[in-house]
């Protein structure tokens, strides 16, 4: 069943942008090998637009995908000679391949679920026969118990030092808030400088940068700041509007 077909905006049900894209591709009701990346990009962007109009908070990873799809679409529409990305078709094909791979894994997971599972469709003898008392017992342990035991010991040794990795990707709302607070004075400053320090993780850093860019576009649109980029891929400069 395709949820996107109903166009009910509910990002909660999707596990990330790839999952949403796959659902939209299913909605095209055609062979996944012939899925139109152009149509898919349009549907995806429209879906996110609708979500934002309904004031549903959209996680940065969805926006990163949106930006990338918009770029890919622009390249596909240009004559090959005028493209920045000469292999746009190959990139689009690669996206199709990823979606097919994910779909295949979904089917494999469903296939596994239908297997005659142990204890459900295939039963084991419940109790081993009582063994002779004169036989030496054999010690057993499970790998999971061993690993968990080491985790426990290590945690005890370093109280409070273990921080659980959280991958909170910056949302556009957070980025707007940050930018509005931190952008003072009236000189031009590099947008990249507003990405928080300490994001070592490449994904978190890229997500924060993407969110900051979208936030700056929004703030420029509402007249809070000015934007300027001297050359393609050059630094994006921002300053508070005078």
């Amino acid at each position: 069943m395709s949820l996107a077909a109903d166009f009910v905006v509910d990002l909660e049900v999707f596990e990330g942008p790839l999952d949403l894209l796959l659902d939209l591709a299913r909605g095209q009701k055609i062979d996944l090998r012939q899925v139109s990346v152009l149509a898919l990009a349009d549907q995806y962007l429209a879906y996110l637009q609708d979500a934002r109009e309904r004031r549903i908070e959209v996680a940065a990873e969805y926006l990163v995908m949106a930006a990338w799809l918009a770029y890919l679409k622009s390249q596909l529409l240009l004559p090959p000679a005028e493209r920045d990305e000469p292999d746009a078709e190959a990139v689009a094909a690669e996206l199709g391949a990823r979606l097919r791979r994910l779909e295949a894994i979904r089917r494999a997971a469903a296939w596994l679920e239908e297997r005659p599972r142990l204890g459900v469709a295939r039963l084991v003898r419940e109790v081993p026969e009582p063994a002779d008392v004169d036989v030496e017992p054999r010690y057993v342990a499970r790998l999971h118990d061993l690993l968990a035991a080491y985790g426990r010991a290590a945690r005890r040794r370093q109280p409070g030092q273990i921080t659980l990795p959280s991958r909170r990707l910056m949302t556009v709302d957070t980025a707007m808030d940050r930018l509005s607070r931190l952008l003072t004075g009236h000189d031009w400053r590099d947008l990249a400088g507003f990405v928080p320090n300490g994001l070592e993780d490449g994904v978190e850093r890229r997500a924060a940068l993407a969110a900051s860019l979208l936030a700056s576009l929004e703030l420029a649109r509402t007249g809070v700041l000015d934007l300027q980029q001297a050359a393609p891929f050059g630094p994006i400069m921002v300053r508070r509007k005078t």
């Binding site: 990823r98 791979r101 295949a104 894994i105 494999a108 296939w111 596994l112 204890g119 469709a121």
Partner: protein, 178 residues
């Protein structure tokens, strides 16, 4: 003590063990008098179509009740452990792409593997670490275990449907064919 037929020793072994027994353990037990493989295959034929069957799981063997009898057994021994979709998909990726790193699992699904998903799969005994990838950070790789085969009634990983077939157009909304 009179001579006991190897087949009867193996039959008793498999019944009493419960858990799968490795073929080399069975062979060691039989000694040089008989070929474990031959005895096991004969036993498997003897039990074909009956209430219990002899299952081969890669290098191990076990007795399990036949799936077709299950509906008649009201004493189901444990409730189904329903796996979440992320857990099942993660398991499927490991099964197909093993040995596989966490980053590679995430690349297929397009989202991070939640804490607890791998923990659950290790805890069930279906997934285990296996060596490190020769790549930056030397990340650990994950594989499925013999217990995975037992749980899902597979005689080997070769029983999994080929991913290319699952990708094939015919399976997608029933439209088109190969």
């Amino acid at each position: 003590m009179s001579e006991i037929a190897p087949k009867h020793i193996v039959e008793a072994l498999l019944f009493a063990a419960g858990e799968p027994l490795e073929e080399r353990v069975i062979q060691a037990h039989l000694g040089e008098g008989a070929m474990a493989r031959e005895v096991l295959l004969e036993l498997q034929r003897d039990y074909a179509g009956r209430g219990v069957r002899i299952e081969r799981q890669e290098r191990a063997w076990a007795v399990r009740t036949a799936p077709e009898v299950a509906p008649h057994l009201k004493r189901v021994l444990r409730p189904t452990r329903r796996l979440s979709r992320p857990a099942l998909e993660t398991l499927a990726i490991i099964a197909y792409q093993q040995p596989v790193t966490r980053a590679e699992i995430e690349a297929v699904r397009g989202v991070t593997v939640a804490q607890g998903t791998l923990d659950l799969l290790i805890e069930t005994g279906w997934v285990a670490p296996h060596g490190r990838r020769d790549a930056p950070g030397r990340p650990i790789t994950w594989i499925t275990t013999p217990a995975f085969l037992d749980e899902f009634g597979l005689s080997s990983l070769g029983d999994l449907p080929r991913l290319e077939e699952l990708e094939a157009a015919g399976l997608f909304n029933g439209a088109g064919e190969r």
